[in-house]
């Protein structure tokens, strides 16, 4: 099983989320997700200052195998995007939880964060997906 840091929250669509302070979150895709997708060739970042509902598709990552939507894990506004990915999408493969972050957002409702999966639940979810 790929690396699943204990201090992050996860979605069933393989995004991770980290709480920076009481309003701000950072979002990326998990090591497991980048492993399934393979070498990244293109990242379409979300629009800055745009609000998304939880579950909205807001970005796209494209690998040599497939293009895949990234879904907003919670409702909120995008306040920063990782421009470095535009020229170097492979950062997501190299460091999915660090330099490979995709965007930062201001959450509308922090209760939504509580409803996401913790590391153990996400690990179980990945195992169940593999059958």
């Amino acid at each position: 099983m790929s690396d699943i840091p204990g201090d992050l929250k996860y979605t069933k669509t393989h995004e991770w989320l980290k709480i920076l302070d009481d309003k701000t979150l950072v979002v990326g895709i998990t090591a497991h997700a980048q492993d399934l997708l393979g070498d990244m060739v293109f990242v379409e970042l979300p629009e800055l200052d745009t609000s998304y509902n939880a579950g909205d598709d807001c970005a796209v990552v494209e690998s040599v195998k497939a293009a895949s939507d990234i879904y907003s894990p919670v409702s909120g506004e995008v306040i920063e995007i990782n421009e470095a990915l535009t020229d170097a999408p492979e950062i997501i493969n190299k460091a999915p939880y660090e330099d490979g972050w995709i965007f930062k957002m201001r959450a509308e409702d922090f209760d939504e964060v509580e409803n996401l999966l913790n590391a153990n639940e996400y690990e179980e979810f990945c195992a169940s997906e593999e059958h």
């Binding site: 060739v41 293109f42 040599v64 497939a66 593999e130």
Partner: protein, 495 residues
């Protein structure tokens, strides 16, 4: 090697060069080139050798087994080509009077009728020039239907997660929002998710049945009911029609619009970009919106009119049509090939296409299972194609689906479709088609088993394949990231 690399300044082919000073004299000075055009300068023999050698490097159905899932790469009988090139067809001008083209129009009318019969739809137009355009026409008709009823609240098209990528693309092109629904682990669509997804915002659903997972969705009648009751229409993607040809009709399943890939099911050339054909069929309520022109048959009032029975319908007779998709009615030569193929098969032959494509797929699937391969959805009977998942091989031997595909090339087999459908990990989508013999299928099965043994004993051998082809592993990451298709003789060509 590119033809530009054979080029030497001043080398020309006398037999084909025009008389200098004869043709280009009337072009005004300001439009003339200042520099020579960047074209290759080669002799006739060099040109012949170059392109013959390229053609010999091809993997094609004429030379190799081609089990490319979801593409139906079956053999196209030669006589479809030769009969479509009869002088009367070749020399017919599309602008000539209808009275002079009754034979051609009769063939097209009969093809429309045969496609109607095979699909169970109420009417067919063969105007779309390719499968993707057929898809576009289908969803555009759904849109026109809702618009004609002033039902403007319908903004969503439902697409299952196993769909071909063209389905959501088509929905977006037609101005719809895509709503994805999941497939259950048994391969059928999740009915509860469908019930939850439909509503007054549903314009329709796009389905492929049998699906890209190679199984027939057993709940199609219920799905049809759920969508129709919500006021939506059903669109059928004809990609997998080969499996059910002569057996089950999309019209009977409740579909309102379908497109047919003639290049898959009806033996016309696989385009590599064209020319193609993607006829559309519709249920009663969509007939007014069919793309034009298509052929109608007027029963003659008296004997003198007998010669002019077939007529192309235009805007005049079909005011609600979604319009024209090309200058004339589709690609005439391609449609003729499909007509000849359909006439050769007849109703009985079409049934055998469905039966033998399914038999070949199930035989290959069972034999691969006996050889230790994991089959996705292995409790289901396959349709015309099935999925091998190499998840365990990837985990235990570090040899993945792409490695298997590359190694198959060394054994003289075109690789199956890899990594599609997206919801099955490390997959090969294998479609043998009805035109392959048992001997070929056995050779393929044996090659797969050999590669599996190689992967266990010497994984590096498989990981570095192919060895026998002119091109080895390509750097597809670099190709995708630094896409550059422009050849520049000045900088790219080393002296």
């Amino acid at each position: 090697m590119l033809i530009f690399e054979h080029s030497r300044s001043g080398r020309i082919n006398k037999a084909q060069s025009t008389n200098p000073g004869s043709l280009a004299n009337s072009i005004p000075e300001k439009f003339l080139r200042k520099k020579r055009a960047g074209l290759p300068e080669v002799s006739e023999l060099q040109a012949v050798r170059h392109y013959t050698s390229l053609s010999q490097k091809n993997f094609s159905i004429d030379t190799h087994f081609y089990p490319l899932g979801s593409c139906t790469m079956k053999y196209n009988p030669r006589c479809c080509n030769s009969l479509a090139m009869l002088p009367g067809f070749l020399a017919r001008h599309p602008e000539s009077d209808e009275s002079l083209g009754q034979g051609y129009l009769a063939c097209m009318y009969e093809l429309q009728e045969m496609l109607k019969e095979a699909t169970g739809m109420k009417s067919v137009s063969m105007a779309p020039m390719a499968g993707a355009q057929g898809e576009f026409a289908g969803v555009a008709m759904i849109r026109a239907y809702h618009d004609s009823r002033k039902d403007h609240s319908r903004t969503e098209i439902i697409v299952p997660d196993a769909a071909h990528g063209t389905n959501p693309a088509t929905a977006v092109m037609c101005g719809y929002k895509v709503r994805e629904i999941p497939t259950r682990s048994d391969g059928d669509i999740d009915l509860d998710a469908l019930k939850e997804a439909v509503g007054p915002q549903t314009a329709g659903i796009m389905l492929t049945n049998p699906s890209t997972l190679g199984v027939f969705d057993r709940n199609i009648e219920q799905m049809s009911k759920i969508v129709h009751e919500a006021g939506g229409l059903l669109y059928y993607d004809g990609a997998n029609l080969n499996a059910i040809l002569g057996k089950v009709k999309p019209g009977d399943m409740g579909f309102d619009a379908i497109h047919i890939n003639l290049h898959k099911t009806f033996s016309t050339p696989h385009g590599g970009g064209g020319p193609g054909a993607g006829p559309v069929g519709v249920s009663e309520r969509l007939i007014p919106f069919l793309p034009i022109p298509y052929v109608t048959h007027n029963v003659a009032q008296d004997v003198s009119q007998e010669g002019e029975q077939f007529h192309l319908l235009t805007e005049k007779e079909c005011p609600q049509t979604i319009g024209r998709l090309s200058t004339f009615m589709g690609n005439a030569g391609v449609l003729l090939r499909a007509y000849i193929y359909a006439r050769m098969l007849g109703r009985e032959g079409m049934k055998r296409v469905g039966e033998f494509s399914t038999l070949n797929a199930n035989y290959t699937m069972v034999k691969l299972k006996e050889n230790g391969f994991n089959i996705a959805l292995n409790t289901r009977r396959a349709t015309h194609e099935f999925i091998v998942t190499l998840k365990n091989e990837a985990k235990n031997m570090d040899v993945n689906a792409m490695d298997f595909a590359k190694r198959l090339l060394d054994y003289g087999f075109h690789a199956p479709t890899t990594y599609f459908p997206l919801i099955v990990p490390e997959c090969l989508l294998i479609e043998p088609t009805e035109t392959e013999s048992k001997e070929i299928l056995d050779q393929f099965i044996s090659a797969m088993a050999t590669i599996r043994t190689e992967a266990q004993e010497n994984p590096e051998l498989v990981k570095n394949a192919p060895y026998s082809l002119p091109v080895k592993r390509l750097d597809d990451v670099k190709a995708a990231r630094e896409l550059d298709l422009v050849f520049r003789p000045d900088t790219d060509l080393k002296p």
